[in-house]
Assembly symmetry: C2
Homo-oligomer: 124 residues x 2
DNA sequence: CGGCGCTATCTTGCATTGCATGGTTCCTGG
DNA sequence: CCAGGAACCATGCAATGCAAGATAGCGCCG
């Protein structure tokens, strides 16, 4: 098994992996907002908030997609020790997508909160 | 096309359909928390919060899955006018699943908020 | 100098799940 | 009887996270 892989994080609260669908991509864009980062670095920053822990098999296909669709630009840089790293940087298109998601997310989040807390539409 | 179908709700705020993955199912469980409901009724209540608008092609396979996995129990009742309706009611297992999700959701929600608002881990 | 392990990237195949489309059944109204 | 609507369901597709495995550069230690 490849080191750095993440199994199901049952400790403390299992979050169905399906929840991450369509969100992980935008979290990655958010992480790139201020500066370019490379794959393993992104993986570590995601894992710093345990529910977002994911694996290389998830992040690399995702990054390839972002690149193919023009949301990020890449640049190969040498590492001080180890193989070269591929850095990903937001393009203007990527920034637009991030802003769109940032606008849509609160509506979605509040909708789920609504159904969980007030499923019958009771008047509070 | 079947009446009552919902296309992409672009008006007012596009929410990627992938976002709903793994959430819709639990919203349905939440809607059934207090009383049994039938398919078209669930569809209408979901649509009352526009970002959750979905179609029959989504809800019926989902309900079948919930039934197959023992989260809901079903009962056929006659309608005052029209074909009989299949009512879905939560089983104890379904309540457990709902409670689990209700516990996991806030962690997930806060994680996304974190990345969107504070991607670099800055101290506020 | 040669093997081992670490960092880092990438590929393949699969499972889950929302969605579009289309079809069937039952009831009501003309 | 026929038209139309309400309600249910099945099929096939597409998006995407994931497990598992392959490859390559670099440094350490024997």
């Amino acid at each position: 098994m490849v080191p750095g892989d993440a199994k199901n994080d049952d400790g403390g609260g299992r979050v169905p992996s399906q929840l991450r669908k369509g969100v992980l991509e935008h979290c990655v864009l958010a992480l790139l907002r201020d500066e370019p980062k490379y794959g393993v670095e992104l993986l570590a920053e995601l894992a710093s908030v345990s529910v977002m822990t994911t694996s290389q098999g998830t992040i690399y296909p995702l990054l390839s997609r972002l690149r193919r669709e023009g949301f990020v630009d890449t640049e190969l840089r040498e590492s001080p020790s180890g193989p070269p790293r591929r850095y990903y940087a937001l393009t203007p298109l990527g920034r637009t997508a991030l802003a769109e998601f940032a606008g849509a997310w609160p509506r979605f989040r509040d909708a789920v909160d609504h159904f969980l807390n007030d499923p019958q539409g009771d008047t509070a």
